[in-house]
């Protein structure tokens, strides 16, 4: 159950970071006042939230400790 929460948090964090990156890149490609303000406020705000969510997810995952779903068997079984 908790594993599902962690996965969901990471996915949400990833999506939020994509939005944040989009806003930041928009201000670099089209540097007009509105886009710059959006990137430096909302963009970076969403980005910070995404990082915080990811760190929370990792903390939750570590808290699970030795539960079978979270065992870090190294690179062996984890990559598709």
């Amino acid at each position: 159950m908790r594993h599902a929460h962690v996965e969901m948090l990471v996915r949400f964090s990833s999506l939020a970071m994509l939005v944040a990156l989009g806003l930041m890149v928009l201000s670099l490609v089209f540097p007009n006042p509105l886009f710059l303000v959006l990137a430096m406020s909302i963009g970076q705000g969403i980005g910070a939230l995404a990082v915080a969510l990811y760190l929370l997810a990792i903390a939750l995952d570590l808290q699970k400790g030795a539960s079978p779903t979270s065992n870090d068997a190294g690179a062996a079984g984890e990559e598709p």
């Binding site: 996965e7 201000s27 509105l34 430096m40 970076q44 984890e78």
Partner: protein, 203 residues
């Protein structure tokens, strides 16, 4: 650099969302780069690039209400103070910022905060005005133009300056008399344009 880091970060995130690998150690580290390190670089370099761009005249001219001011400043034949200063390589592309930024320890910060006010007024009062801001409220400075901005370059201690300004030297230094009281051809074309517009409105 910012764009390259953004592309790498996005690639990592998309890889994670599409392939959905298990959250093992390697995945966590890769995601830490994609969600933490690379976006941090994008954010920092983006902030620097953004800040640099906000100093430039094209940035000021990106709001249409500044059109007449920027055209005059960029006119190689114009004899306005704005144009003369813009032709000086020390001011160059940053001539608006050089004269209109606050000249004090937190000058850059207060100038940028004022920039946010500009954006607010632009959206709420000027967004639907004419090609050069016709129909909008008269553009004016938030506070009087201080002599300190001129004195960044024009020393009041220079011999020639003291000779030519001898009668009002102390008043100029104290700010009692403003430089632009006499040197008032700063943005004549733009101000004439606004005056004509006001006349037309009155009719």
């Amino acid at each position: 650099m910012a764009l390259a880091c953004a592309a790498c970060s996005a690639a990592i995130i998309v890889w994670y969302l599409v392939r959905r690998p298990q959250l093992g150690r390697v995945t966590k580290v890769v995601l830490l780069a994609g969600l933490g390190l690379l976006p941090l670089i994008v954010s920092l370099t983006g902030n620097i690039a953004g800040y640099e761009y906000t100093l430039s005249r094209p940035f000021c001219g990106s709001c249409h209400v500044m059109g007449a001011y920027v055209r005059d400043a960029e006119d190689p034949k114009s004899q306005s103070l704005a144009a003369i200063h813009s032709r000086n390589h020390k001011f160059g592309d940053e001539s608006c910022y050089m004269c209109h930024s606050d000249y004090q320890i937190f000058g850059a910060v207060t100038t940028k905060l004022n920039g946010l006010r500009h954006l607010y007024y632009y959206i709420t009062e000027y967004a639907s005005t004419g090609p050069d801001g016709e129909g909008g409220p008269t553009i004016k400075l938030y506070k009087p133009f201080t002599n300190a901005k001129c004195m960044q370059c024009h020393s009041t201690a220079a011999q020639k300056y003291m000779e030519t300004h001898a009668d009002q030297l102390e008043q100029i230094r104290s700010g009692e008399v403003s430089c632009i009281d006499c040197h008032n051809e700063v943005h004549p074309t733009a101000l004439a344009h606004r005056a004509q517009e006001k006349k037309a409105e009155a009719k």
